[in-house]
Amino acid sequence: MDELSALREMRAQAPEADADRLGPARERLMAAARTAPAGTASGRRRLRPGRPGFPRSGDRGRIVPAGMNRGRIALAGMAGLAAALALVAVQVAPTGPPGGGDGAPATPTVAARYAETAVVLERAALVAESRPVAATPRPDQWQYRRYVTVQPNGDGEVQEHEEWLRYDGRKNAGYDLDGAFRIQDVPPDPGDDDLSPEKYAERLRRLPTDPDELLAHVTGDRHWIDLPREDPGGAEPSDARAFRVLSVYLGQRAVMPPELEAAIYRALARIPGVAVELGVRDAAGRAGLGVFHRPAGEERERRYLVLEPDTFRYLGSRTVWLRDEVIGGEVAFPAGSAYVTAELASTIVDRPGQRS
């Protein structure tokens, strides 16, 4: 019996209420109806964005699904960094995103500042190329990740998450709400659209490291893994898809070949609509370079990959609603709402529970 069937049987004997039982609740409704003025409905009050107690999932739109891991890649290894930095003179364009347009600024009170996209991304490529090649983890090692999220419901609460995933993807571990540490098997699931760290490594090794070839590859990819049947985005514009798929790959830093990372930055620079905003903050308040894609059509929300300005380390993401999102006739997320994440730790460890 699968877990959904088992769940359907749980508490299945709970009865439906009859009219007697529901009488008082119905009477409360009718009392309200009697006092409501006919012809108008009360309460034009705008709903709070989001819903307390219902955190949005951290993988909204699956743009950056899993850990942005650096694994064993050292932060150092920046032999070429000084040279790379010298190449860059970030230009500030105070008037708006490249190409102009009517998109609302991400932060309404402060004019957004933009960097010269091609210059910044080439610099990122040069820094990436100078990274050392990481040792390949053993299948029985674990990927540890600690990150925080802020939901778009306006309460600003920072939620912290901690998880261990075995490199071969067969087990995960973490603390449950009781504070008990649990290690769980992860059975193989052909329908899964996420990959184990090991599978990501295999996939990344097969990708072309020529920027043009890479871009052609991700533009033609129906999905970021080979499961087109689950792809709801059949109508996704190719530029948007290329940005999304490259963003996902960029998240796999624990298993990222340096030359591929460089190719990703150069491919991003070739996608029409990709731009870099300065001073975009992650959920930990760290300001970085916000790489985003501006679609040809209407831009409803903008998702930034926030990169550390010197090392181009991935800090987190920031998704900003540019227009009110109306769901079921109500404003679920008003313009200006933001879903924000920040990676705090990510490394390969020998045992679950270890943090370094």
Partner: protein, 205 residues
């Protein structure tokens, strides 16, 4: 002529008037909203019982329909079926009792005694001591994030489709898929070896 035997005190539900039309009418005639109550209150009451137990269900249902009534002018009248909307409101109210809900899952996981099942056991012939599978399920439910649990239970206990869950919770359907997927994966893992393939591979691994 056979008398129409509707529910006691219920406004007559002709059944051929869609929810959206009922809501539109209720803007002019507030009493019309009672039709929605009669259509959906019984199942939403049951859903609330399953999540929180018998004692909180009455208030959840009353508050759900009061809240729905008060914001009926913001209902998207292009959606003929109001059921997802009502479950969304109910879920929000149920979420206020998260501690109660989690506590019952934890207790069930630990002791096998289900205080929620006990709460309605005197009204039906319900089994109140849980199977091993149910204990594991309860443990998994306690460990899910609120958002993942909401999606999972709307599918399993309220029989909403993915699209309806998206509408109820106010998230894109792609997010529904990924949440449900994650919730099912964790639940399956908690059932431990329910997947024979997994056991096989683990043995050789």
């Amino acid at each position: 002529m056979i008398a129409h035997t509707g529910r006691a005190g219920a406004a007559e539900d002709t059944g051929d008037v869609g929810d959206a039309e009922v809501i539109r009418r209720s803007l002019e005639e507030p009493d019309a909203f009672a039709l929605l109550f009669d259509r959906y209150a019984p199942e939403i009451h049951r859903y609330a019982i399953r999540r929180l137990g018998d004692s909180l269900a009455d208030d959840v249902v009353a508050d759900t329909f009061l809240a729905a009534f008060q914001r009926r002018d913001r209902y998207d009248l292009t959606r003929p079926d109001a059921r997802p909307w009502l479950y969304g409101i109910a879920g929000n109210l149920i979420g206020r009792h998260r501690r109660v809900e989690i506590r019952s899952y934890r207790a069930l996981a630990r002791t096998g005694a289900d205080e929620v099942a006990e709460s309605y056991a005197d009204r039906v012939d319900a089994r109140v001591s849980a199977s091993a599978v149910q204990k594991d399920l309860a443990g998994a439910l306690a460990g899910l994030s609120a958002g993942d649990r909401e999606v999972l239970l709307l599918v399993a206990w309220a029989d909403l489709t993915y699209d309806e869950v998206a509408e109820a919770v106010g998230i894109p359907v792609g997010t529904v898929r990924s949440r449900l997927h994650r919730a099912r994966r964790k639940t399956r893992a908690a059932l431990g070896g329910a997947d024979p393939t997994a056991t096989e591979e683990e043995r050789h691994g």
